[in-house]
Symmetry: C2
Amino acid sequence: MTKIDDVARLAGVSTATVSRALRGLPTVSAATRRRVLAAAEQLEYAVSPSASRLAGGKTSTVAVVVPRITRWFFGTVVEAVEEFLHESGYDLLLYNLGGREQTRQRVLRTGSLHKRVDAVILVATPLRPPEVTALTALDLPGVTISSGTDVPGWPCVRIDDVAAARTATRHLLDLGHTRIAHISGDPDDELAFTTHLDRRRGYQAALRAAGIRPDPSLDVESQFTIDGGNRAAAELLARGEPPTAIFAACDEMAMGAMTALRDAGLRVPQDVSVIGIDDHDLAKVLGLSTIAQPATEQGLLAARILLDPLGVRTAEPYAGHLPAQRGGDAPGDTPMPPVILPTRLVVRESTAPPRAH
Amino acid sequence: MTKIDDVARLAGVSTATVSRALRGLPTVSAATRRRVLAAAEQLEYAVSPSASRLAGGKTSTVAVVVPRITRWFFGTVVEAVEEFLHESGYDLLLYNLGGREQTRQRVLRTGSLHKRVDAVILVATPLRPPEVTALTALDLPGVTISSGTDVPGWPCVRIDDVAAARTATRHLLDLGHTRIAHISGDPDDELAFTTHLDRRRGYQAALRAAGIRPDPSLDVESQFTIDGGNRAAAELLARGEPPTAIFAACDEMAMGAMTALRDAGLRVPQDVSVIGIDDHDLAKVLGLSTIAQPATEQGLLAARILLDPLGVRTAEPYAGHLPAQRGGDAPGDTPMPPVILPTRLVVRESTAPPRAH
DNA sequence: CTGAAAGCGCTTACAG
DNA sequence: CTGAAAGCGCTTACAG
């Protein structure tokens, strides 16, 4: 294949000049740049990323780590990140942990990321202490989205899970419900640790604020999936008198719960109200009330925050979203406050006053 | 950071030997290999992918190109592919075209993929002639999943879209429907070209086989999305007497259609039956009848077919799925028959006999 | 089974 | 603004 020497020869310049011209460095005369570009085009020259990376010391690649790409939130985040990265000239290496311990180890514990990427975007993946250590040792910039653990020096973008859950629960309380169940995350799933704990906290806080003592028998733990929600709701019903409302920790769980209720002959919302968190793109189809969270915005913002310090041209300014502390060159060990994006209550058909009213 | 020389020094061997030992080449004595591995571990050595790729001439990276990662089929395929690639020691570069012409050009028209990846998996992306030319010029191995166009030398994995559509339509006919509408792909969306044409062909074939002449007023074109299905169904209803059944070209469209029907005060299936294609993971929640297609299997199989000739250890044999013609080293220009995976009818609550019955 | 040496194709000081 | 030369960190014949 054609390489930089071929272009240099055709353009009548050195390879150093070709390299500079092609990368748009300012230290090239307009005439020379034109000649180089013409030569490159004529030869259909494409630089060898491996050679460029080895010589230049940067990979122009970002690792994006998600628990499961098939879940709404993660797919949406990846889509947003992908667009931003590619428009900024970066490649996206996808790591879908998928609950596989081996994959997790390879990505999070070994140095495999080290000379492979320039930065990391870690989505909803709380870390164990040794993983934090390993990741820190990598000495790479990174951003965390909706993660539970902080990696020192890595900014974090997320929503306020406690507040979102409080709003959801309060919506049910406002409708007159008092027997409000909660479908929460899997206690064994350390990967989803913080998010579900925060959401339960918000649920309980709203109940207490309304003078209601949280009832453990109305609190079921399961997985953050459709099936998880389905099983959790089934168990809830098996426990005895059904609640009049269910707040599920995410929309996918809420959807699974709706199926379980229907299978049990209960109508939503006449018999049981259901609300989730996300605003999954099928929430509207199902008439599911929910707390909408901005997934695309979280992805975009994370990518921006990450690439900005790497000296990448970004389309729009994002100052409005950033806490005042950032923007300068904060030392890596200054704990950065998370960037919190807003959520909002979306009322659809799955929530209504309880029968008794 | 520590490099291969450091390991070589510590182990008391040459860098060539370190390289061989670390990659598991057979030409290294057991004792030497042990020493090298110990040294590498002690120094926490990780090879530099850039250097290795430049010297070795292979990137151990595969480009995966999808229209939209957030759609069920594509997310599921990527998840399957990702697992297989990473277990085989390959990196996955994600390209989400997202309908952006610019992105498409960069990926499909320029040589940007050239020295960046060893192979390509192209999902549901029919190509324009110049793109086929450009991709062929890359001289890379590739596999196509559910694509409309063939790239010479690239195997293709897919379902039989005509048959799937025929089965869906026949299910409605068997229930007694005769006014069966079809929601098809966007005619302007050349990216979804073949799939929706094939599905329409199956729909019409089934009608004709039942002695029914396809009625153009019952055939609406829209996009392969929830919204697309929603708008299409709304238009269908605006055209006059509603059909008694709708066959949507994919589940997401079917779901959107269900919402439109509900919004119009029509019940599913009492007033209108609805069936799709996919078996989306929310189809069950919505009680949607559908033609299930194996997304995970298509992804896995494509990855296997791709990596196998590259000399990668694969877990299970896949001979059962492969056409007899493959398996040897067929010349690249021999047209390969597509690998067709089976679909199956899944009857749920969204389809029933028409009212009149 | 192992090593010395060339080479992969760029980028980067350095000098002019 | 431009070029000569070193160097990025590996792998691969080649020779032994």
